[in-house]
Symmetry: C2
Subunit: 500 residues, 2 copies
């Protein structure tokens, strides 16, 4: 190994150690920190984040990168060293393009905007939030100018979350989805008597929910020797290395779905982080993008966790845990309950069919505002019109409409489409997995998940950040990212349930 | 404020933020970290500790300190600024005197020595551990040479834990204690029928122990909005600022003392940390020494928690919690049970009377080994002879003797005497508190602790690290540290219980 590469690695490992320490502090903040600890924690996070950032954008890192790249010229593209140099170069260029003053302004803006958004949402008062949304648009534009783009402003923004992804590709993805989903939503809307989730709203004792969800999570393949589960208001997964990846869950004793499917969702994220190659440099030892991460959580939550095969195995077991609430419910009723679909106002509560239309509304609005085609003051009407067009419903208030999500108050734009990238990729990966390993569906029906997890480990997880999302998708499935498998999955599954 | 002082403060705050982040990582490691996370955590801790150390010993800090000292010459000694400069100068000189290579050698030694000590203790094989103990002695000598001392090697070592304390002062303290304690131990030994702790060894359900201990802790004055309690194998208190101070407890369902008095002990540490002045610079916003810290834990655990007044209030309450185990036990029997005294082999299980003779054995042995008066191979015999002389018992094995404590395997010498400094100081402070606020004993009898906590807040806690231990003791009690109050306390309390 070249001397420059060795020096670079030492620095990058230190930076990764600081960043993963920041991760632990963030986890603690949401799970166990006493209320009084906020200010102390803010100070710790600010110091550590600043030091890690300064260590990374140090010109010396740029020099070491250049020297290491020259010295390792001709190295195998797939090698850890070549990948580290390639990925770090990309990170370095991106980090050094954003002026510290803009980062500070963004942080300040999000600190100011968040409480205003909370109040605006509570009071259904969009006007209150409008100037802050305007500022988010402006700051996002400036961010995009610094980051650089050739075609669309949004390219620069999505690139931070989904490296290499282009706006036109996302538009193509949504076009396909819109074409197939909008009529599907209409058909399902007309057949609401075919499924309801009443049985999930009976009483389910928290401790028993927790035991059952942890059992399922363990059997899916989440390694609790390298992880743990706790309660939190907003469920999340946080990994500090492949050997310490933690998830959180919230419980609702009168709605079985929240904890059970939430745990499978977070376990999907966690198994990705636990599955990255043990030999990867720390900087590469994590998921490659938000969209690919979401593909893992959705795959385990929905494609596995909401499948009939899965419940063929688990339904008798959950009936034993909750005999009072499920003893009189047959498998088919339960299966329809957990897969009930209907247009609704709130994204985070949306089902597999309607979910992507929610992110589409946001994707289109963000682009229109960024491109100056839509005035912020007109955004609520635009939101409602799109909801009517895609989901056939109009939010009665902005609280149930444009004010529902926290993201824009945090100065974030370009994020929402990664959820849908995750959804369609989950189906694309699963289709390839069962093509490669045909026993997977039958295995799931017997509560065995190692064949599926093994395929994901080898084809997705092990690579960590070595490849950009599209590279990874192409390598894993032989095709670029596309919605064909997802649309087919929805058609088959919901066609059967809703009879169309 | 001078520019140099402002720059210094900014640097010191960053360093304090990193160190308190290290504290959170250490807490998590002992309380919630999954088993697999050890290596990741070691990497995080190593990077953060190294960065904080490098930032502190930076020559620029020395220059800023010198400039700030000149510029603030004549400032009030008691002011935060003058105290910060004074204390930081002392820390800086100490830190810069120890070569990085010696620190690395010590860390390496303790990593190697710890598993050997575990095995030696398990196998009752002192010979196995002897070379490592020899190395601890040698490294401690070298450490002392670097730190500097005028009289005794031990001066340099104790100074790290108890700034300014001298070996001759500790010897004087132990001489007084020995003179009064050794005969007292003999008298108590002859009157063992006067107290036994059988009733504490009945069944006490863990959840109820926890609820009661937390209730007591809260009522003593530990603020749970700025703290929390969890389970851990080795109970400890860890503070990240006055606003986030956490304690841990272990439970034994067949021994009531462990959790109940352990919680009061840790709450004492925690109330010290929670009580430091809100206006103090972060570097000064913590306890001033191990001994003063231990005085707070021992004061609440023993002087308050094992007093008859305290149980006059709480005994009916704990009887209600454990009617099956305590319903037939009267207050006097319970009071004698929690204050049972008897010579025993293990320091951490020793009572108030015998405890200091355990640390004396170690203090004398450390000095004799450091001064070259005792060969390490002869240390077990010396240990046993001292145990016989001070406690009237001889350990049957080295496992129950010289191999019992972890400290020497960690390369630590000079630590044990701080426990006894804490013990005698607890009584010295309490005596002054009740002289100043005569209602304190009666308040305790009514479960009211704010008068005592208020006195401690004002006279001890609020100052943080502004004053060295002896300065603080002199300010708070008007006298230098001495064992008179402690001896008197033991005589009165145990004279009454054991009838001498």
């Amino acid at each position: 190994m070249s001397d420059a590469l060795q020096q670079l690695k030492t620095r990058l490992d230190d930076i990764a150690n600081i960043n993963s320490a920041v991760g632990v502090l963030g986890w603690d903040q949401q799970v166990f920190m006493p209320e009084g600890g906020s200010e102390t924690r803010a100070g710790q996070l600010s110091t550590l984040s600043r030091i890690a950032h300064e260590m990374f954008i140090d010109p010396e890192v740029g020099k070491l990168l250049a020297t290491a790249a020259t010295e390792s010229n001709g190295a195998d593209y797939d090698s850890n060293d070549a990948s580290l140099i390639r990925v770090t170069r990309r990170d370095y260029d991106q980090s050094t393009r954003i002026p510290a003053a803009l980062v500070a302004e963004l942080n300040h803006h999000s600190t100011m905007a968040h409480p205003v958004w909370v109040k605006a949402r509570a009071d259904n008062n969009f006007k209150l939030f409008a100037p802050y949304l305007q500022k988010t648009v402006e700051l996002s534009r400036r961010m995009a100018e610094h980051l650089g783009y050739t075609d669309r402003l949004y390219d620069a923004l999505i690139d931070q979350f989904e490296p290499g992804m282009k706006t036109v590709e996302i538009e193509a993805m949504y076009d396909d989805l819109k074409q197939s989903t909008v009529p599907m939503i209409q058909k399902i809307k007309d057949r609401q008597d075919r499924a309801n989730d009443d049985v999930l709203r009976r009483f389910y004792e928290e401790a028993k929910q927790s035991d059952f969800a942890v059992r399922v999570s363990r059997e899916l393949g989440y390694d609790f020797n390298r992880g743990r589960q706790d309660r939190a208001v907003h469920p999340f997964c946080s990994g500090f290395s492949r050997d310490d990846v933690r998830i959180t869950t919230r419980y609702d004793q009168h709605f079985l779905q929240a904890a059970l499917f939430g745990t499978m969702h977070e376990s999907g994220h966690a198994m990705y982080e636990q599955g990255v190659g043990a030999d990867l440099p720390k900087r590469l030892a994590t998921g490659t993008s938000l969209g690919v991460h979401e593909s893992q959580s959705r795959l385990w939550e929905n494609i596995v966790g909401r499948s009939r095969a899965f419940w063929t195995h688990y339904y008798p077991l959950i009936q034993q845990v909750f005999p009072d609430s499920l003893g009189d419910v047959d498998l088919d009723t339960f299966y329809r309950a957990i897969n009930k679909s209907a247009p609704s106002f709130i994204r985070v509560e949306a089902d597999e069919v309607t979910y992507n239309m929610h992110t589409l509304v946001r994707f289109e609005l963000e682009n229109e505002m960024l491109d100056g085609k839509l005035d912020v003051m007109d955004a609520p009407d635009a939101w409602n019109a799109k909801m009517q067009a895609y989901l056939g419903i109009t939010p009665p208030t902005d609280t149930l409409g444009i004010l529902q999500d926290v993201h824009w108050s945090g100065g974030l734009m370009g994020y929402f489409s990664t959820y849908t990238i995750g959804n369609i990729l989950s189906a694309q990966l699963y289709a390839k997995a069962i093509a490669d390993v045909p026993s997977i569906p039958a295995d799931i029906g017997q509560g065995k998940f190692s064949s599926l997890l093994g395929w994901l480990n080898t084809n997705v997880h092990a690579h960590g950040r070595k490849y950009m999302p599209q590279e990874l998708v192409k390598r894993a499935t032989g095709e670029p990212l596309n919605s064909r498998a997802y649309v087919q999955y929805l058609n088959t599954k919901y066609g059967e349930i809703y009879g169309f």
